[in-house]
């Protein structure tokens, strides 16, 4: 048994896992039209490779990675490209983004898949490229291209496979570990081969006994260690997880690699396995559909499938649903419309009923009771952040380290006055970003202005010099000046 360290704060939230983790992962029915966004990862948007009217096969690349921080996008099924257009995508701000609309032909016909490769004989560069062109990104939610995370010059001391899944209601990783443990570990082998860590830890919260035993069985012939961690939100958050397992803190504004640690989600390891061993790009994922739906469950879903399609297969909404959330209730965000498509970051779709809730628990003033301080995993003072964010004292907000806030929601969760604290932090952050942009613009304008003034001055001098040439009387004076300098 590994010794665990600890992290400050966190909450023991009602987990609500059993609603959705009682039945096996079900495959979603093929929808008629898939809306596949070209940006499903952190980084730059992929370049479309198809046009309206083209016929595509399942697994065919339809978006090319653009630059280093990018990943490919593939057709989730075979069919005809209807259009490439800006559509509503699941994003906190309700933005439209470029999507490829594919009408399914119902055949679900694969493209010719590459033979399995012996990754051990390949140069790591080759492996990164395979992953990049297969569109493998972190499926825990951050969707950072996996190739970028593997390509590090720092020696990795501890590799963590994150199966903690600390968010309440979400069970997609739990089910994946129960049903596909050996595939996950096979993917982990590939990651280990590239990073060559000294130690490999598989962390799982102790409320998932079945997943733990499956993963332990899959790890039995390896040196990997399955670590049971206490169920305490947000222990699955990278910073808290690393602190818990290694006792080391990722520096402010730093990354895990800065302290020789790297983390991958179990879903990502599974995707790496499918890509390297079967030549399959990432075109689907496991999604938890839960909350106020009649049959909460986990489904294997093709990207581009509308949320409503999954809700219908889960027995439809229960009475009074007025909010739909992507991600769990702690950190997820509300979407405007249930026609938005499932993307690589969609781990959970949560149907909620808030109307009654807000009436029953109205917002009251902050009495500075300090309960929020006790639970903040980043050791911030949420009530001070709130106070100054509300007063729009943005400098003070920075003094209280607003930018260290990971928006985990623990503070709002426990606040006895039910203040939507995180909302204020997001607001303050966006205000500060806007200010900084303004400042940059102003700086640019000032620089331009100065350059213009200098240019005009220069021209004037040239003109004057020409004048002086024409009027030699003035010359000695000018010479005198230049000597004097």
């Amino acid at each position: 048994m590994k010794d665990l360290f600890s992290f400050h704060g966190g909450v023991k939230a009602a987990s609500h896992k059993s609603e959705s983790n009682q039945q096996p992962i079900k495959s979603s029915i093929l929808p008629h039209v898939l809306t596949v966004p070209l940006r499903q990862h952190t980084g730059s948007i992929s370049k479309p490779l198809v046009k309206a009217g083209d016929h595509v096969l399942k697994g065919q690349m339809i978006g090319k990675p653009d630059g280093y921080m990018s990943a490919a996008i593939h057709a989730p099924t075979s069919g005809r490209v209807l259009d490439i257009d800006n559509k509503l995508v699941p994003h906190p701000s309700g933005l439209l983004d470029l999507c490829v609309l594919i009408e399914s032909d119902g055949e679900d016909r694969w493209i010719n898949r590459r033979e399995t490769v012996d990754y051990k004989s390949l140069h790591p560069k080759k492996v990164y490229n395979l992953l990049r062109s297969a569109g493998v990104v972190g499926l825990g939610g951050a969707v950072v291209p996996t190739a970028v995370k593997l390509n590090t010059s720092t020696a990795i001391d501890t590799l963590i496979l994150n199966g903690s899944e600390c968010g309440p209601w979400i069970t997609c990783d739990d089910l994946l570990m129960r049903e596909r443990a050996s595939e996950i570990i096979s993917g982990l082998h590939i990651i280990v081969h590239i990073l060559q860590p000294r130690e490999v830890l598989v962390s799982i919260e102790d409320d998932k006994p079945q997943a733990i035993s499956e993963m332990e069985a899959a790890c039995s012939s390896t040196s990997y260690r399955v670590v049971k961690i206490p169920t305490r939100y947000p222990s699955g958050s990278v910073k808290q997880l690393v602190a818990l397992l290694t006792g080391r803190e990722i520096p402010i504004n730093g990354l895990p690699v800065d302290i020789g640690v790297q983390c991958f989600n179990v879903g990502t390891a599974y995707a790496v396995h499918r890509t390297i061993e079967f030549g399959e790009p990432v075109i689907s994922r496991v999604v938890t559909i839960t909350g106020h739906v009649n049959q909460p469950q986990n489904m294997e879903v093709l990207f581009g499938t509308p949320f409503s399609h999954l809700i219908n297969q889960s027995g439809g909404y229960r009475y009074g649903v007025d909010q739909l959330i992507m991600g769990g209730p702690m950190m997820g965000f509300a979407v405007h419309d249930d026609q938005v498509p499932v993307i690589k970051a969609t781990n959970c779709i949560f149907a909620a009923r808030v109307a009654n809730f807000t009436l029953q628990y109205p917002v009251r003033p902050c009495i500075r009771c300090g309960v929020c301080v006790d639970v903040c995993p980043m050791n911030l003072l949420p009530q001070q952040l709130y106070w100054y964010a509300r007063a729009k004292e943005l400098d003070r907000v920075k003094d209280y380290h607003l930018f260290s806030c990971i928006e985990c929601g623990c503070c709002s969760y426990v606040c006895p006055s039910h203040i939507p604290l995180v909302q204020y932090y997001r607001y303050a952050k966006s205000e500060i970003w806007a200010q900084e942009k303004e400042k940059q613009k102003a700086d640019l304008a000032r620089r331009r202005y100065r350059a213009r003034v200098a240019r005009l001055e220069h021209k004037k001098q040239i003109r004057e010099a020409k004048l002086q040439e024409k009027a030699p009387v003035l010359m000695p004076n000018a010479n005198y000046n230049s000597r004097d300098m």
Binding site: D322, G332, D337, D338, P365, I367, H401, Y413, P416, P420
Partner: protein, 348 residues
């Protein structure tokens, strides 16, 4: 289908929700009961009248201000914060304070010190103490008319009717003259006599009454508030750091002075007489106006304790809890800024 757009988290702890502002405030009220009962026992019904007048006026003033500010009455009156302010001030007043003293103090506390600053949560100063200091400065005679302790059955004790008459129309029963019932508190006697360089030990001996004596009312009251305060700490209604800091600071500084020069009052006298116990558990712990970081709360408490000592020993007021709390209220934002917990990832 369109949906409501709200920010995360989309849930909150229902068990924590029970720790509402209202429940916290109600617990503080319960905790004041033992000390108030002791006060009734030794000083008669006066405190009960004060508390009743204060509560009625406070609720009225709160309701008027909430209405004027367009706030939801049921939501905000239900938090009981006005009643807590009322009780804190009422308990701090002399037992036979005339009704208008209580009324003026409460109105000032609720209207000026609380609502004109933005209401609960936005007031930088403890409203009850602002009301108290305003009264102390404006009406020194009424504010220093403290009763001499008597057990409730003793002939000098006044009946409920007599107390009501005294409070509302200022008429004392014929058998009692004002001088016979009021007297200096142990603290003010010592405060005044110290300047005469009288022997501290002698005075202590003559003024420290035996515990089982009807003249030990002050000590019993303090014990009652201590019991209530400890219960608040035990139930985590208040943070232990402020009372510990306050009493620790007061003990520390008074010990230093007492050991270097026995002319100064000993630490146990400082703790046990006057308002430090009541102040430590009930007044300085008002979370809105106190420091809010863990370390800051300790420093805040120590600060209040030290200022109490300085005012008592070198100032012209015999007790200094109210002034000390208000002074530290001013310092609280700065203390908070410099006592932030070590940030995650900031190195050790």
């Amino acid at each position: 289908m369109r949906f409501i757009m709200l920010n995360s988290p989309h849930t909150f702890s229902v068990s924590e929700s029970e720790i509402s502002v209202g429940r916290t405030m109600r617990r503080v009220l319960y905790a004041m009961v033992p000390g108030s009962v002791a006060c009734i026992w030794f000083f008669g019904w006066g405190i009960l009248i004060n508390i009743s007048v204060a509560t009625v006026v406070a609720l009225g003033a709160e309701a008027a201000m909430l209405t004027a500010r367009g706030k939801n009455l049921t939501l905000y009156l239900g938090d009981c914060s006005a009643i807590v302010t009322a009780w804190l001030l009422a308990i701090s007043l002399p037992q036979l304070a005339p009704w208008w003293i209580t009324t003026i103090g409460i109105i000032f506390a609720i209207v000026v010190a609380k609502h004109l600053y933005g209401g609960l949560g936005y007031n930088p100063f403890n409203p009850a103490m602002i009301g108290y200091v305003m009264l102390l400065i404006s009406f020194p005679i009424e504010m220093n008319a403290w009763l001499i302790p008597h057990c409730i059955w003793q002939p000098q004790a006044m009946s409920l009717i007599e107390v009501i008459k005294a409070t509302f129309i200022g008429v004392l029963p014929e058998r009692l003259s004002p001088d016979a019932i009021t007297g200096a508190t142990p603290l003010s006697i010592l405060h005044n006599n110290l300047e005469l360089e009288a022997s501290v030990t002698g005075m202590l001996n003559s003024y420290f009454p035996s515990i089982f004596n009807c003249s030990s009312g002050w000590e019993w009251m303090t014990s009652g508030f201590l019991a209530g305060g400890l219960w608040l700490v035990y139930t985590r209604t208040i943070d232990w750091r402020i009372p510990v800091g306050l009493l620790g600071g007061l003990i520390a500084i008074s010990t230093v002075f007492y050991l270097t020069d026995p002319h100064y009052l000993p630490p146990w006298f400082h703790i046990w007489s006057g308002a430090p116990i009541f102040g430590a558990f009930f007044i300085a712990t008002d979370p809105v106006t106190a420091s809010t970081t863990p370390l800051g709360r300790l420093i805040y408490g120590v600060g209040v304790g030290i200022i109490i000592y300085i005012i008592r020993s070198f100032g012209s007021y015999s007790d200094g809890v109210a002034f000390a709390v208000l002074m530290m209220n001013i310092a609280a934002p700065t203390i908070d800024l410099y006592t932030q917990p070590r940030l995650f990832g900031a190195g050790r």
